[in-house]
Symmetry: C2
Subunit: 228 residues, 2 copies
Amino acid sequence: MKTVNPQKSLVEQTYDILVEAICVGTLKPGERLTQDAVAARLNVSRQPVNAAIGLLRANRLVESAGRRGVVVAGLDPDLLRDIYDFRSVVEPLAVTLAGRRGLTEAEIAEGRGIIAEGWQALRKGDEPGMVRADVAFHTLLYRLSGNCVIEETMRVYWTHIRRAMSAILRSRERYPETVWDQHDRIFAALCAGRVEDSAAILREHLLGSFANIAGHPLGPPDPQRADG
Amino acid sequence: MKTVNPQKSLVEQTYDILVEAICVGTLKPGERLTQDAVAARLNVSRQPVNAAIGLLRANRLVESAGRRGVVVAGLDPDLLRDIYDFRSVVEPLAVTLAGRRGLTEAEIAEGRGIIAEGWQALRKGDEPGMVRADVAFHTLLYRLSGNCVIEETMRVYWTHIRRAMSAILRSRERYPETVWDQHDRIFAALCAGRVEDSAAILREHLLGSFANIAGHPLGPPDPQRADG
DNA sequence: CGATTGCATTTCGTATACGGTATTTCATAT
DNA sequence: ATATGAAATACCGTATACGAAATGCAATCG
């Protein structure tokens, strides 16, 4: 029979809701959040909201506004550059470690499934689907590395990457069509044991992804437009 | 004139106290912590303790024990291996970025000061001093990189590295005498602009540091000895 | 003697209250 | 019109209370 699903705490639920709203753009950069307002909106008390906002602050998704709540952090080009510099060494390490430990048949199948979903989303022009598959693909690489530090560190920073991706897609820019070809080749090389090839293609992929993001004006938002 | 030092919140103070106790070994692996006990000990209410323990849990310094509080995490050899694998790519990136942006005279002086303190601590056999200087040296590299992702990520993991260092020193193992020679050479090469040399010495340094840690039995503690 | 069940205790999540601090608004003086 | 001071308001940190959930232990049954 089915097992009982453990309930997420109110803190976790609150955090997830706010992260999602920030990533998809429902909560815009510069928008102010107070604990009372969020608590009223989500029909909980201030205590779990305080804890969730503490996590958002720690993950740099919001910034303190003195004793006037917090504001949703802007898309910071400097932070994104730091994240991509970071990725440029961490993700090749991830595929190196993954190649070293080898992939199981199930893991190979899982990777191919994610890539198939990415291709399908590209065919359909399903941009949110492409973002989801993109996240799933890179998260898989971290998991395959078997290195929990890579996995946990990147989980935090992917919220920022997702925000940038969503912002770019909202401005009607196209999702680069080379992405899934590159994902395909990265994974194929990894499965074939050609780890250095895989790492090289990954570095190229990251350079391209960052060039796409850097070429898009994500500068600090006009505060007057916070209510836009 | 001097600026007013803003008071640290009770949450921050509680977290710092607990981290310090875990790092220096006052709180031992396997030791159980409940919110009521910590609150009574520190003379605060449970609320800031709950928040601080949440951060400790997120930083893997404690582990949940169901509805029986948390336990201080053991020194996990797998986690330390993951951290050192991670460092092996992140720290060379840090010196690469530092070399790219160049060092100011003040930064060069600061680095030399830290290294001098390290040598002095070595001469005096001041092991806590050596650990502090070690932390300060690597933290300086992260800061010099100008990459906030490196800086913040490594800040978390250095609590684990410090724990391992403290455990090794408590077992009367000697602090490797090559450490400060290597720090000296890493920094000298960086200051001279020989970034690849600096990165190469750093990698060698990390291999040695990890070999030192890996060679020391840090395995999961005997739970019966939690009260030791 | 081992397994099961019921009950008491411990612990935590979260709601609410209170006080302090920072910020904003308004009134007054120049 | 501008500056300044006082008052009001908004917000957050933290204390406390309450209820739910998990755990441990003892009694009972097979």
